[in-house]
Amino acid sequence: MDGLKVLLIDDEEELVTTLAERLEWRGFSVHWATNGADAIQKLKISPYEIILLDLKMPGLGGLDLLKIIKRDYPDLPVIILTGHGSLDGGKPEVPEGVAAYLAKPINLDDLIARMKEAVEREHHA
């Protein structure tokens, strides 16, 4: 999993830069974006192997961005990171096409384990 290319998308810049740095120390290659439009541009330029996506963002929100990603990059695994206890206020439901769903604050070891699982699942699909 060395050098696994990650795109991290969250409107909280301080969270994104800190998480990116910690992932890079662990051997991942991380780009980040703080809004949907920037994320879409980055996806066009660079190939990624996994996306970490926050649900609640200004403008193009996480769910809308997820639809675009699943439409244009159907084989790219996406892990949702969210501050919500659940998506619809009830029992947590993982949207279709999402590899995993993690509630903030994120446990980094847990995140890395889910990332590896998601990428291996995609490779074997």
């Binding site: 909280e12 301080e14 969270l15 800190t18 998480l19 740095e21 910690r22 120390w25 609640k56 963002m57 200004p58 403008g59 929100g61 501050g83 919500h84 903030k104 604050p105 994120i106 980094l108």
Partner: protein
């Protein structure tokens, strides 16, 4: 306790929904604050782990961790104070309220919700003191409904402007989204029912500039009041004064 009618149940539910919306927004922001602090401390842990293998922790890393945690602590404390003031606005059905402080706090709480719609929010207090005896929770609820309409109707990248002013009967809070003329759509019925429930001492009108929440002085009974003030540093953050 009077029996609840379907009408009063609906208004109670609407009040709870308002309280829930504000609480959900603030707790979401607080969760982000804690997440950032958590990852920042994780960064320090990572640096310490590397230090155990011989590479010392750089002063720049320590400074960054310290400053990051301080920044988020200030942000978190501000949100908690705002939410606490909002929660206490439900303490009394009727009390004398500093409308400028009340609405400044609400505007602060609404910033994140406006930001999610890519809108900015400007608050303009009245130049003179605006102390009115009213139901502070419902007064905020009506302004919140107007802000919700503003978010739905404003142009992308636009600005919501909230202005307080005094009038002969009490005061008013104007919500506008120039150049669009803001009207009551989604919340028209609820705002009318709230106005009726308060004998029109609270209400929302459409005007040329936007939506105006009017607050008339309510007849003040003799009852126990409490002085409630909170501040941040040397600034008067918000004060609800009841005599």
């Amino acid at each position: 306790m009077p029996d609840e009618t379907p009408e009063s149940t609906d208004l109670t539910q609407a009040g709870l929904a308002f309280f829930g919306a504000v609480t959900a927004s603030v707790t979401h922001e607080l969760n982000n604050v804690i997440s950032i602090i958590d990852q920042t401390i994780g960064l320090l842990d990572d640096a310490l782990a590397v230090a155990e293998e011989g590479m010392p922790v750089r002063p720049e890393t320590l400074a960054r961790v310290s400053q990051g945690i301080k920044r988020q602590t200030v942000r978190g404390v501000e949100q908690i104070k705002r939410l606490n003031a909002f929660a206490h606005s439900a303490d009394h059905l009727r009390c004398e309220v500093d409308i400028n402080a009340l609405m400044s706090n609400l505007a602060g709480l609404y910033q994140r919700l406006a930001g999610l719609r890519k809108l900015s929010l400007e608050f303009v207090p009245s130049p003179e003191p605006l102390l009115i005896t009213t139901n502070p929770f419902t007064a905020q609820q009506l302004v919140f409904l107007c802000l919700s309409e503003a978010c739905d109707q404003a142009e992308k990248g636009g600005q919501i402007k909230v202005t307080c002013s005094k009038n002969l009967a009490g005061g008013e809070i104007n919500v506008e989204i120039a150049p669009v003329k803001l009207v009551l759509k989604k919340h028209k019925e609820l705002s009318e029912r709230l106005a009726m429930a308060f004998n029109e001492t609270l209400g929302v009108q459409e005007s040329d500039s936007g939506l105006t929440v009017t607050i008339q002085h309510q007849h003040q009974h003799h009852h126990q009041h409490q002085h409630f003030k909170h501040s941040r540093g040397s600034h008067e953050y918000a004060s609800f004064i009841s005599r």
